[in-house]
């Protein structure tokens, strides 16, 4: 499992959905479901933070292939 703070929204969100599915699927060992729960909460926090902090970044592709902020 990778560092949650590095995850993009898409990756975090999809892992979160997968966790819900696993938890709902039934009997898991207790420590595993506790771990999944904790990871799920962290992923949800990461997703919410990404949504909250998001500010559209707009750049322009220059002739030489570099990017310039607009």
């Amino acid at each position: 499992m990778s560092d949650i703070q590095e995850l993009t929204f898409e990756v975090a969100f999809e892992e979160l959905e997968a966790i819900i599915e696993r938890l709902d699927s039934g009997e898991l060992p207790l420590d595993e479901s506790v771990n999944l729960y904790e990871r799920g909460r962290k992923l949800a926090t990461r997703c919410q933070a990404l949504l909250d902090e998001a500010e559209l970044r707009v750049q322009k592709l220059m002739d030489d292939g570099s990017l310039e902020a607009l």
Binding site: T8, F9, E10, F13, L16, E17, I19, I20, L23, D24, L28, L30, S33, V34, Y37, G40, R41, A44, C47, Q48, L50, L51, A54, E55, L56, R57, V58, Q59, K60, L61, G65, L67, L70
Partner: protein
């Protein structure tokens, strides 16, 4: 026709209105030239019905022609004519029997002035379509959560502002990379192709929006360029087109993976709505908590059950049992003690009663008397003390009297 003859009139053939109208209609329907005509005229009347069908009248200085275009054809029109427009209409002439009018059932309309452009458009579209450039199988899937959104449009166009506004409101997590280009004029097609290619070669975009705001058909013409269409189709990155207004269709639209009616709509189609994402996240968190709570409750119940079973066999439980037994015995003892006390109390009562019956007053009641010497008050216990003339007091149960001894008897 023959069965339509009115049997009562022998001399003249007469027809019902329906029969005659049906006959006239057949005359048109069987005439190949009438089934494939181009008519030029001016639009004098235009109604777009709720059903989507178009009803209009085509006229020139000397005549009028009623026209109808069914929704299926109208939907394919990139151009919907307005009152006064000079247009070319293609279709078939037939009769609307119910009203007894002949009319043109149009399947294509183009402005009379730009007939050449339309012809080019139709030809290019047909050619690329035949080549399979617009095949559904070629369409790439769009990313659900695009990280980087490439935009091919003019930097100072209102369309670019519209796109940014939509993305800022809807999905500000995205990053936008503008690949600037002219969007009209002879230079435009080559620049659009270059801008598309640069995004493909130099960036990591997840999706490209190819956009231009509304304009005349000439303004939008760069998007009907064959090179542009091929660049769109060849793009490694999926392309959403949003060119002009709702009614404008371009070749680029057909080549794109998804056609949006406007630039703003392209930005919307490219992204999920973060408001909805927030709601979904809240739901997921609730589901997560509920799942954890349920799991923990089940486990705790199981632990509780075990603890209970364990307690039943523990030394502490045995001590508690022993203590319980002592309590029971104490109770029994107390009961015995109380019974003994009651017995004693009963015995005491009996003695008291015996004692009472032995008291002096009780003896007096039975007729005995107590005699005391009046002088000393001492009880007369012997005859020896009763000297003649001595005053005595005789006490009976209801009072006393004084007397003197007359004679001393023998003891």
């Amino acid at each position: 026709m023959s069965q339509g003859k009115n049997q009562r009139v022998v001399m003249i053939d007469t027809y019902s209105v329906a029969e005659l109208t049906a006959y006239v209609r057949q005359l048109f329907d069987r005439d190949e030239r009438m089934q494939d005509v181009w008519v030029e005229g001016e639009v004098s009347n235009m109604t777009r019905a709720a059903s989507g069908h178009l009803y209009f009248t085509l006229k020139d200085s000397r005549a009028q022609l009623k026209c109808v275009m069914w929704r299926s054809s109208a939907e394919r029109q990139s151009y919907i004519p307005d009152y006064g427009d000079a247009i070319l209409v293609h279709g078939a002439i037939s009769v609307y029997e119910q009203n007894g009018v002949y009319q043109l059932y149009a399947d294509r309309i183009r402005p009379a002035g730009v007939g050449d452009l339309y012809l080019q458009f139709e030809q290019l579209k047909a050619r690329l379509e035949a080549e399979g450039l617009f095949d559904l199988a070629r369409k790439r899937p769009l990313p659900e959560y695009p990280r980087i959104i490439g935009v091919v449009t003019s930097a100072d166009a209102a369309a670019f502002q519209d796109i940014q506004n939509v993305l800022r409101r809807r999905y500000p997590m995205a990053e936008v990379i503008l690949s600037p280009t002219l969007v009209q004029g002879v230079e435009a097609p080559a620049q659009i192709v270059k801008a598309l290619n640069k995004l493909n070669e130099q960036t990591d975009c997840d999706v490209i929006l190819l956009c231009r705001g509304g304009g005349s058909i000439e303004d939008l013409w760069a998007f009907n360029d064959e090179g542009v269409a091929r660049a769109v189709a060849a793009s490694r990155i999926p392309v959403i087109s949003g060119v002009g207004h709702e009614t404008d269709f371009t070749i680029a639209d057909f080549a794109a993976d998804l056609r949006a009616p406007t630039p703003s709509a392209a930005a919307e189609l490219a992204t999920p709505d973060s408001m909805e994402l927030r709601a979904t996240l809240d739901e997921i968190v609730r589901a997560l908590d509920a799942s954890a709570t349920t799991t923990l409750r089940q486990r705790r119940q199981r632990v509780d059950d075990q603890v209970w079973s364990l307690r039943q066999v523990s030394p502490l439980a045995q001590v508690r049992n022993a203590r319980q037994r002592i309590d029971d015995w104490t109770t029994l003892l107390n009961v015995g003690q109380r019974a003994r006390l009651r017995l004693l109390r009963e015995r005491l009562a009996a003695r008291t009663a015996a004692l009472a019956s032995a008291s002096p007053s009780a003896i007096l009641e039975r007729g005995y008397a107590i005699v005391t010497l009046s002088e000393s008050g001492e009880r007369l216990a012997s005859v020896d003390e009763a000297k003649p003339g001595v005053g005595v007091t005789v006490q009976l149960h209801d009072g006393e009297f004084k007397a003197r001894v007359e004679e001393q008897g023998n003891s």
